[in-house]
Subunit: 471 residues, 2 copies
């Protein structure tokens, strides 16, 4: 009997595990069919009468890139507000926020003197956002190549002083998730200039954050970290192909001199806006679910994947609800955040006001990983929420949404975390993202219509479930 008893206890344990698994979503059994039908209709509508692709075309082609503080950013604010009003959202308003204002200026170039008397070689280069410019006559200095800050520290002031520091650590191609590869080397872009300055360097040159081997330099934000150095020196990116080329040149001639000219400049902060529109909830109008992307972009390409896609995804979620007559219980608030790229001031302001007004935010979903084919959602919340959301997988998997996983949600919604808001990120396939990110290649043509539409439908389905079942 003993072994029987043991088996019995074991069985009970298994049964209880199983039943607790089921209990994560007691609703699922009864409502599965309705949900399945609604979600199918959401996808049908997005794939046959979707408007996100044409909205993206308008944002990219009528306005183009739209860096904070630029006239195009102002146009984008108007564009977003008008579109929300045309869509018939309940409550469209602008939320004022002061944003950094940096301009690239006319000249940005680097030329290398390979040998005395020879013609200089020019490399594809672009200034990094927030960088100071060079003096008008430029900087001429030797280049010293490093992979990371430790290597730089080892070289020390003696070998670095007076030189342009060339950070050439490539993104790790072995990482399947390209965002992890980005995370593994973005610090050379964001703080390379401060570290160069710390050891007496006169400028920072950074390998573009891309897994492609091509001639397009990728910009992105940098900042001067006073904890590292009080001095400010210019920072710029060169294309991945140019980085390889330069590295080869340096192997042949470590004394190579470069002339760097950059006209970029920081200006006083400018007034701008988050653009907000609502679909009022029928049962709990004071409970908010945010869905958003960021309206600003870098001043390269057209900001199509980053983050035009997130903007039109978010707008499409409420347009789908409206056109299908889905009346959410809670208020769905579309937020087009300003200034994600170089300051995230819009994100901070949105969270500040939400706290000030004591608004009850249930959840926030951000799309800022491009308009690629759907893979899933990231969850930045407690484990009960993770389990609950994962229990919706059978409804999402038919649309390629397998990865319902804990993970970072997004820059713009992150400040809401302190208020207990449950955060989610739309997770498309990441393989092609850094081919386009912050470069001239981030154009409307790089976005596939169906992949974009599937993303919008995925987000709408997800918001539908959050609204229906709560968290």
């Amino acid at each position: 009997m003993k072994s029987h008893k043991l088996t019995f206890i074991l069985c009970l344990l298994i049964l209880s595990c199983q039943s607790s698994r089921v209990n994560q979503t007691p609703e699922m059994d009864t409502v599965n069919k309705t949900d399945k039908t609604v979600i199918r209709k959401i996808f049908d509508e997005a794939l046959t009468k979707g408007e996100c692709y044409e909205n993206l075309r308008s944002l990219c082609k009528d306005i183009g890139h739209r860096l904070s503080g630029s006239p195009q950013a102002d146009q984008a604010v108007e564009w977003g507000k008008n579109l929300m009003q045309e869509m018939g959202l309940d409550n469209v308003f602008l939320q004022e926020v002061m944003v950094p204002h940096w301009e690239r200026g006319k000249r940005e170039e680097i030329s290398i003197q390979l040998a005395a008397g020879e013609e200089k070689v020019s490399l594809p280069l672009c200034a990094l956002g927030s960088s100071i410019g060079t003096p008008a006559e430029g900087i001429t200095a030797e280049i010293i190549e490093v992979q990371n800050f430790d290597e730089l520290a080892e070289l020390g002031e003696e070998k670095v002083k007076g030189k342009i520091v060339f950070f050439n650590r490539p993104m790790n191609p072995k990482l399947i998730n390209t965002f992890a590869a980005y995370g593994g080397c973005v610090n050379q872009r964001s703080q390379g200039a401060s570290y160069a300055a710390k050891y007496g360097g006169v400028g920072a040159l950074v390998r573009s954050m891309s897994l492609r081997h091509d001639d397009h330099p990728h910009t992105g934000v940098m900042w001067y970290n006073p904890k590292v150095s009080d001095k400010k020196v210019p920072g710029a990116a060169i294309s991945t192909a140019a980085a390889n080329q330069l590295s080869e040149m340096l192997k042949k001639n470590p004394k190579l001199e470069a002339s760097l000219v950059m006209d970029c400049k920081n200006f006083p902060d400018k007034k701008s806006y988050n653009v907000i529109g609502e679909l009022r909830g029928s049962e709990f109008p004071e409970e908010y679910i945010v869905v958003g992307g960021h309206l600003d972009s870098w001043d390269k390409g057209e900001g199509a994947h980053d983050d035009g896609a997130g903007v039109v995804h978010s707008l499409e979620v409420v347009r789908l609800f409206l056109s299908m007559g889905i009346k959410p219980k809670r208020t769905i608030r579309v937020v087009l955040f300003m200034n994600e790229e170089n300051g995230a001031k819009g994100a901070a302001e949105y969270a500040r006001v939400a706290k000030e007004k004591n608004e009850n935010h249930l959840a926030a979903l951000e799309s800022d990983r491009g308009g690629f084919t759907p893979r899933g959602f990231t969850i930045d919340a407690d484990s009960a929420t993770i389990l609950k959301v994962q229990s919706w997988k059978p409804l999402l998997v038919p649309y390629g949404l397998h990865d319902i996983i804990p993970g970072y949600a997004g820059v713009d919604i992150k400040p809401l975390k302190g208020q207990g808001v449950k955060l989610f990120g739309y997770l498309p396939d990441s393989q092609r993202y850094f081919d386009h990110h912050h470069a001239d290649t981030d154009v409307f043509e790089a976005v596939n219509k169906r992949e974009l539409e599937l993303g919008a439908a995925s987000m709408a389905a997800f918001i539908y479930l959050i609204d229906k079942y709560g968290l």
Copy 2:
């Protein structure tokens, strides 16, 4: 006690289910770690030292498109053989096969007379493979639009006779799997001309099989079905944008006349080859695992996704094994099939010879769905095999391979099914495939390096597991 007994039985049932589930892969528990490590290394190697992308560049740029019977197809055979020999495969040989030989010729155009005296409007058009040409002076006739064969039958000879039949059924955008959408309307391309002829039509014009709205006509195979009609009339595709435009024109003027000129022509069959190379098995050299794609392509674009990707995927599988020192137990045979596009003669010949020689084929894996980001594998085999292969999911999911599902494997390996061979298809994301399929847009530049490499690594991992555990 009764309920206890019942619970007990129920528990045993659950336990036995659980244990039987575990039993599907008794090896998994012990070998999981080794497999995990090997598969990780396969991906590392493919993503850092992969050669499939440069091989694809060579196939697309040095040779280009390569329709059966063309000089480029001959070049591709040489290319494949040379590459296999350079790679050091054990047994490289050509398998002779007679293939259809069709040529597009110089002229293929359609022009529409919108109104008497007005200039004719020309639409982007291309002949369908195997189609006869028009007389030298072309065909001038009214156009009649239908969606399908039933509609055509209803119109009958009275309304169809002497007209060019315009089949305008679009691919269904609601289907998440675009191959299902393709399957839903490809018969108008493959047999539209025969059905047009049946009712006295003088030609068939077909909406391109694509979900994109653009100006590129997509070719593809058609055939004259003697069971439908003894008569042969020309068949051609127009771009999706042209199809919409023509449909609008016809609404305004149903008597619209078109002039169709096509110089295409069928020639006698030509000699060609399947290209075959082996990595001999260490334990069971007489047991074969086939991995392949097709070497021929349509005479449009560069046959990059269709099926240059499958060719270089398959070659990369054995290259990875060789470079990593993976010694398969069974013989891995790479087969670059000839003539998938318009006859599948290579596929038939390979299966015929395999049967004739009484070769023992364990499995065959085909890649013919493009070089896109991995989603999984299809399985065309018995349910025990399906369960066994699905039990490998934990090893495959980290690479995005979630869809290990029953389904069609591929045209080239299908004839092996009669010999009991277990068939598998590499399943990449399908959203962009029909943007390129059989059109001028199917070029090397449309293939993303990482997506291609991930596909090759996925296939290598899959073959590694099949070889190791058998089926």
